[in-house]
C-alpha cells in the first residue's frame, strides 16, 4: 500500500508589539458514544425528547440506586482507541469527580482519572496544502455527561433537564502538539471523520454530541522544540482552558483571540493565570469562569459502586478484526488504485458513504472520470437540493452507466450533463434514455459534413474572414454543434472545419 508522506506544517506566528509568538494547543474532545441506552442506566439517549423523560432513578441519583455498565459503550471506547492506533488497557477503573451543580444530581461525575480504558495513540491531521501534523493522543476515558440547564426561560429560575445526564462520553485528550487555530479545527475535523467511520460517535456538533475544551498557551520561537526534546512543560507558557465549544469556527476564533490576550498580558510585563475561560462569540472575547476555580478541587476517588473494568485481549482482537477501512488507508488506496489527486481523494473519503458511492461508480470504469463526476456533478447537484449522498436519486449504477456512455464516446460530455439531469429528475437507465431520446453523439462524418457544408454555403463572408483569421474557425464549430443539437462529436467537427476552411 502507498504510504502518504507529508511535510510538517509551520507553526502559526502571531506578531506581538515586541516580538513574534508561537501557539501551543492541546484539545480535550468530548464525543458522545452512539448508544441506545446510557453508560450506567437503561434510560434512552434519544435527542429532543420531552424534558426529564429519558431519566432512570440511577440518573436522578435516587438513594440506593446502583450503576451497571453498558457493555456496548465499553466496546465503542475500545473501538475508538483501536481506530486511533492507541493502546487498550485491559484493566481500567472508574473514579468519582466531585462537584456541585444543579444539573449533576449525584454530586459527582463518574469518570476515569487514574486508569483510563485507552492509552496513547495518534492522529494524522492533513492541512490540505501538502503538510500534515502528527498529533499524539494521551488517553481516552469513559465518563458520564451532565444534564442541561436552561437559564433564559425565567428571570429568577434556571430550568434543569436530566435527559442527557449519564449519557456515555468518550473524552479524547491530545498532547499539546497542535500549533495554530487552523490545525486545531483540522484536528477536530479529522477526529470526527474517524469516529464517524468507526460508527462510535455521530459527530453531530450542533446537538452537542461532540464538543471541545481547548488549552492554549503562547511561547517564544524555539521554546516548543525544547519542550518536544525534553517533554518538560516548563519550556511552555501558562495555559488557559477554553471550555465547551461546539463549532469549528468558534474553536478557531477563540484560540486566536485567547492567544492575543495572553501576548498582550506577557508583553506588558504581566503573568497569565492558569484558569478556565469561556468564549463569547457575540463579543469575540474569552472571559474567566471564576466560579469554576474554587470547584476545581474535585477530590477524585475510586467509585466504590463499581469494580474495576476488566476486558479480555481476545475481545479486543475481535473488535480490531471488525474495524472498517479507516480514512488514511482509504485515501491512500484511492490515490493508488484510481490515480486520484490528494485533494480528490480527500473529498471522496471525507464521509464513508461518499467513499462507498464513489467506489461502486469507479469499479471497472475510469476512476478519474468517476471522481470528476461524483465530486463536480453529483455533489454539486445534491448540494443544490440539500440532499445527502445516501438520499441521492442517482444510484452508483446509473452514474456508472453515464460514465460508460462517455468513455465509449456514445455521448459527448455536454450531452452527458443533460442526461445526468434527466436521470436525477426522472430516473431510468441512462443507455435506454440516450437511445429513446436520440441523444447519441453524431460521429458519422457524413451527417456532420452535410451540416457544415450548408453553413459554409449560407455564410460566404464568414468563410472568407476565417481563411484570413484561423481563430474564427470556432464560430463554424459552434454553428455545427447548434445545428446538430449538441450531439456532434466535437473532435470530428473540429477536424472537418479545419479541413474545409483550408480548401
Amino acid at each position: 500500500m502507498l504510504d502518504l508522506t507529508y511535510d510538517m506544517p509551520k507553526p502559526k506566528i502571531i506578531a506581538g508589539a515586541k516580538h513574534d509568538w508561537e501557539l501551543v494547543i492541546g484539545l480535550e474532545v468530548h464525543a458522545q458514544v452512539s448508544s441506545n441506552a446510557k453508560l450506567f442506566s437503561g434510560a434512552s439517549t434519544a435527542f429532543g425528547a420531552e424534558p426529564n423523560s429519558n431519566v432512570s432513578f440511577v440518573d436522578a441519583a435516587m438513594p440506593g440506586m446502583l450503576p451497571v455498565i453498558n457493555e456496548y459503550c465499553v466496546e465503542q471506547a475500545v473501538r475508538t482507541g483501536l481506530g486511533l492506533k492507541a493502546d487498550i488497557n485491559l484493566v481500567s477503573a472508574f473514579d468519582r469527580k466531585n462537584y456541585f451543580y444543579p444539573d449533576l444530581p449525584q454530586g459527582y461525575q463518574i469518570s476515569q482519572l487514574y486508569h483510563p480504558i485507552v492509552g496513547e495513540g495518534e492522529v494524522l491531521v492533513e492541512l490540505g496544502d501538502g503538510t500534515a501534523r502528527q498529533v499524539r493522543i494521551e488517553r481516552i476515558h469513559l465518563e458520564q455527561d451532565a444534564g442541561k440547564s436552561i437559564h433564559d426561560m425565567d428571570p429568577h429560575m434556571s430550568f434543569v433537564d436530566l435527559n442527557r445526564t449519564g449519557v456515555a462520553l468518550m473524552e479524547i485528550v491530545s498532547r499539546p502538539d497542535i500549533r495554530g487555530p487552523e490545525e486545531a479545527a483540522a484536528y477536530v475535523t479529522k477526529l470526527r471523520q474517524i469516529l464517524r467511520y468507526l460508527g462510535t460517535c455521530d459527530g453531530n456538533m450542533q446537538n452537542g454530541n461532540m464538543r471541545a475544551d481547548v488549552n492554549v498557551s503562547i511561547c517564544l520561537p524555539g521554546a516548543y522544540e525544547k519542550y518536544q526534546e525534553t517533554q518538560d512543560f516548563s519550556h511552555l507558557g501558562t495555559r488557559c482552558e477554553i471550555k465547551n465549544m461546539n463549532s469549528m469556527r468558534f474553536i478557531q476564533a477563540a484560540i486566536e483571540i485567547e492567544a492575543r490576550r495572553q501576548i498582550a498580558i506577557v508583553e506588558a510585563g504581566g503573568k497569565v493565570d492558569q484558569e478556565t475561560r469561556l468564549y463569547d462569540p457575540d463579543k469575540n472575547e474569552t472571559r474567566s469562569m471564576r466560579s469554576k476555580e474554587e470547584a476545581h478541587d474535585y477530590r477524585y476517588f475510586p467509585d466504590p459502586d463499581l469494580m474495576p473494568l476488566e476486558i479480555e485481549q481476545g475481545w479486543v482482537d475481535d473488535i480490531q478484526a471488525s474495524l472498517p477501512e479507516l480514512p488514511d488507508e482509504k485515501k491512500s488506496r484511492f490515490i493508488n488504485d484510481f490515480s486520484l489527486s490528494d485533494y480528490d481523494a480527500s473529498v471522496l473519503t471525507a464521509e464513508a458513504e461518499s467513499a462507498e458511492y464513489f467506489e461502486s461508480v469507479a469499479e471497472g470504469r475510469d476512476g478519474k472520470l468517476a471522481a470528476n463526476w461524483v465530486i463536480n456533478e453529483l455533489f454539486g447537484r445534491l448540494k443544490k437540493d440539500d440532499l445527502d449522498i445516501t438520499d441521492s436519486p442517482v444510484s452508483p449504477a446509473q452514474l456508472g452507466g453515464i460514465i460508460e456512455l462517455i468513455s465509449a464516446e456514445t455521448i459527448s460530455g455536454k450531452i452527458a450533463k443533460d442526461l445526468f439531469e434527466i436521470v436525477f429528475n426522472e430516473g431510468g437507465d441512462p443507455a435506454v434514455i440516450v437511445e429513446e431520446r436520440g441523444m447519441k453523439q453524431v460521429t458519422d462524418t457524413g451527417a456532420i459534413e452535410a451540416a457544415l457544408d450548408q453553413i459554409i454555403a449560407d455564410n460566404p463572408a464568414q468563410v472568407e474572414k476565417a481563411k484570413v483569421n484561423p481563430k474564427l474557425a470556432g464560430w463554424f464549430v459552434g454553428q455545427v454543434m447548434k445545428a446538430t443539437g449538441g450531439k456532434a462529436n466535437p473532435k470530428a467537427v473540429n477536424q472537418l472545419v479545419a479541413q474545409k476552411l483550408a480548401q
Binding site: N36, A37, S44, P51, Y101, P102, M157, M307, P308
Partner: protein, 95 residues
C-alpha cells in the same frame, strides 16, 4: 499531615455541609484522628502486593445496550421542591 480549622472549613464548603465556626476545632481534630489512623496503615509494607478491590472475586456486572428504563417524568420530578413544564426549577445559576 495535619488538618487545621481553615482546611476543615474548606472541606465542609466543598461538600456543601454547613459547619458553624465554633464546631470547626472539633471537626479538625476528628479529621486528624482519622488521618492518624490512615498513617498507621501506611506503615504496613505492601511492596509487591496487588491492590485488592474486593474480598470475593467479583467481575464488574455488565448490561446490554437496550432501553429498559425512563418515561417516568412525574416520578422523577415528584420530590422536587419546584418543577415547571417538565423541568426541575432551581434558583438561577449563571456563569
Amino acid at each position: 499531615m495535619s488538618i487545621d480549622q481553615n482546611t476543615a472549613a474548606k472541606v465542609a464548603k466543598l461538600a456543601r455541609i454547613k459547619v458553624e465556626d465554633d464546631a470547626l476545632p472539633a471537626l479538625a481534630s476528628e479529621f486528624n484522628t482519622i488521618l492518624g489512623f490512615i498513617e498507621q496503615l501506611n506503615e504496613v509494607d505492601v511492596e509487591g502486593v496487588e491492590p485488592m478491590v474486593s474480598v470475593t472475586p467479583l467481575r464488574l456486572k455488565r448490561r446490554q445496550d437496550v432501553v429498559t428504563d425512563g418515561n417516568q417524568q412525574d416520578k422523577v420530578l415528584s420530590n422536587a421542591p419546584d418543577a415547571r413544564e417538565g423541568f426541575f426549577a432551581v434558583p438561577k445559576v449563571v456563569e
